[in-house]
Amino acid sequence: MAQQTFLQAIGRGLWEEMERDPAVVMLGEDIGVYGGAFKVTDGFLPHFGRERVIDTPISETAIIGAAVGMSYLGLRPVAELQFIDFIACCFNQITNFVAKSHYRWGAPVPMVIRGPSGGGVHGGPFHSQNPEMYFVHTPGLKVVYPSTPYDAKGLIKASIRDNNPVLFFEHKFLYRRIKEELPEDDYIVPLGKAAVRREGRHLTLVSYAAMVHTCLEAAEQLEKEDGISCEVVDLRTLLPLDRETLIASLKKTNKMLVVHEDTRTGGIAGEIAAIVMEEAFEELDGPLLRVTSLDTPVPYSPPLEEFFLPNVEKVAAAARHLAKY
């Protein structure tokens, strides 16, 4: 099979699940006739029909609310947010209605909320955000943020089959920038399992989504230029977190550097620091450090956004510092 981009892989995963199960339906703004702002659902309307591919008004609260109602009758709705930034407009439905439904009265909400996320494409403050931590902090949700086409396809399929509400973040920087040969078979990638992208001995780089590629590049450089051997862990699922893989890697390298594109304060690096303290304090040969975006909105102008984001240099510098520790 030909190489598939990150975007195509997600589209294929959605397509196959809709083929497999008529209970899977989609709703969102401009997803039908137009095929979605990024064309993820291009061609879905003619094939699956307007009953299953619903073009909605500009009403995020209605989109999520309607998806909840559909899930109560056993459907498995996939709601697209045109840009993930607009998730703020349905925050109440997601955190109060969706997340608490099963706990309060035993009503499962098997739905997926997906949308283009992240920066690096000069989208400015409202088309570049990484809101994942708002939802990692909301019990009742699952949060997925893949970094490769293979994972993206396997995880979107697993998310649709999961009986819980899953937030599926798609890093738009990766949409067309990475390609991969994908297997023909109907595979899934289980939620809640991190992946070791690169074996290493001296320290562990922990990341997810686009920053995984930044970490891999930095690891290459560190190996070559400094002889520092980095293990790279790709979280893939942020809630629930795969503590086993994190701790196992730490036990091996005894040093950990967390890299996220999300802003610093309250980012997932803190949660990982707390987990490491609780579960493997003795394993630490140095402080858990973090390389993150600045604590600002995402600026629009290219030089500003580059300064705002983590990059290979920043990761490498922090890794060198930690390796020396």
């Binding site: 094939h47 699956f48 109602g69 459907l75 009986n163």
Partner: protein, 381 residues
């Protein structure tokens, strides 16, 4: 067809059960047996009962906090409501949540509300759309206060339902107060039914203290929805006779207003109606009242007998671990939805007056709109 005599008596039974249950809950509240606040629908019983009575068993509803009557009509028992308020282990939410915050997806087709007003409207639109997709002619009903109609969720939900022609009936209980806020600070409207005009759907106002008027309006709206003609907004005008909740003496409500509305008590009015129309005898009335007393005694005893939940249960149930699988139940041949559907991915603009240049002003609402999709689409009426 008009309601039969037994049906009239049923309506009476439900309204009285609603009221007497709430009277009993008030006593429990005074005895500190209720956890948190207690809300009353005193004087609004005709709305909950009359509207829910218009639903078939297969239909769906989502109650708001004052819709105890609707919960009873749709099949929950007084003990369920009492145990919710007492936060007992036996309550439908096992003590996880209180008040009317519970439901039943399997049998009674009831969706639990959350506190945030308006959120139920898009949810119930989705319930209706799912039923339609599954080939089931089921209607979804929910309620909102005149205050709740100021929320963004109300707008997004009802607008979406209108565009999709979802089988939804929304009862707007205008009891003239939102906590301490009067209607004129909630909206510049005489009739909250006018909210419907923003969506191109019917909006009707009825006397909310007349159970038959409410029933008829609701019935018509339910039939309209079942026909596939989309949502209706029904404003039921009434009055909140107690405070927002037990803690609130509602001093902001003028006495003359309370008095005038006590005189319009929906149960009293219906009793007079039944008597005037000779639809019952004193004996039948007393039997109903006796039955209610009997039932409530049992029900409340059962509720009180239920223990509080075990503390450890707090940690359970955040996620559904395959614990409770809701399966889609189809009432149409799956072939009808099997891909490929060959829907045409283009608007039927030639059949979209709404899209013609605007000075030719014969644009139409969604109701007669063929929409987009398969070449052969619904005829315009």
């Amino acid at each position: 067809m008009p309601l039969s005599k037994p049906q009239h008596l049923e309506l009476y039974y439900w309204m009285q059960l609603n009221r007497k249950l709430e009277d009993a809950l008030t006593i429990l509240f005074r005895q500190n047996k209720i956890v948190g606040g207690l809300y009353s629908s005193l004087g609004q019983e005709a709305i909950s009962v009359g509207s829910a009575y218009a639903l078939e068993k297969r239909d769906w509803m989502a109650p708001m906090i004052r819709n105890v009557g609707a919960l009873l009509v749709k099949g929950f028992k007084p003990r369920d409501i009492a145990m919710q308020y007492m936060a007992k282990k036996g309550s439908p939410t096992r003590g996880k949540d209180g008040t009317s915050h519970f439901g039943d997806l399997q049998d009674r087709h009831i969706v639990s509300p959350i506190s945030m007003l308006g959120d139920l409207i898009p949810v119930m639109a989705g319930v209706g759309l799912a039923a339609r997709y599954l080939g089931r002619d089921e209607v979804a009903m929910t309620w909102i206060g005149e205050g709740g109609s100021s929320t963004g969720a109300f707008h997004e939900g009802l607008n979406f339902a209108a565009v999709q022609k979802a089988p939804l009936v929304l009862i707007l209980e205008n009891n003239q107060w939102a906590y301490s806020t009067p209607t004129y600070l909630q909206a510049g409207l005489k009739d909250f039914a006018d909210r419907a005009r923003a969506y191109g759907i019917p909006g009707v106002s009825v006397d909310g203290n007349d159970v038959l008027a409410v029933y008829e309006a609701a019935r018509a709206a339910v039939e309209r929805a079942r026909r596939g003609d989309g949502p209706t907004l029904i404003e039921a005008k009434t009055f909140r006779r107690k405070g927002h909740a037990q803690h609130d003496p509602a001093n902001y409500v003028p006495d003359w207003m309370r008095k005038e509305w006590e005189a319009k008590d929906p149960i009293l009015r219906f009793e007079n109606y039944l008597t005037a129309k000779k639809l019952w005898t004193e004996k039948e009335k007393n039997e109903i009242l006796a039955r209610i007393d009997r039932e409530l005694k049992e029900e409340l005893a059962a509720a009180e007998a239920s223990p509080l939940p075990r503390p450890e249960e707090a940690a359970l149930g955040v996620y559904c671990e395959g614990c409770h699988e809701i399966r889609a139940v189809w009432k149409r041949p799956l072939d009808e939805v099997k891909p490929p559907r060959h829907d045409v991915a283009q608007w039927f603009v030639d059949r979209q007056p709404a899209l013609r240049p605007t000075e030719s002003r014969e644009a139409v609402g969604v109701a007669d709109n063929p929409g987009h999709g398969r070449k052969k689409t619904r005829k315009k009426k």
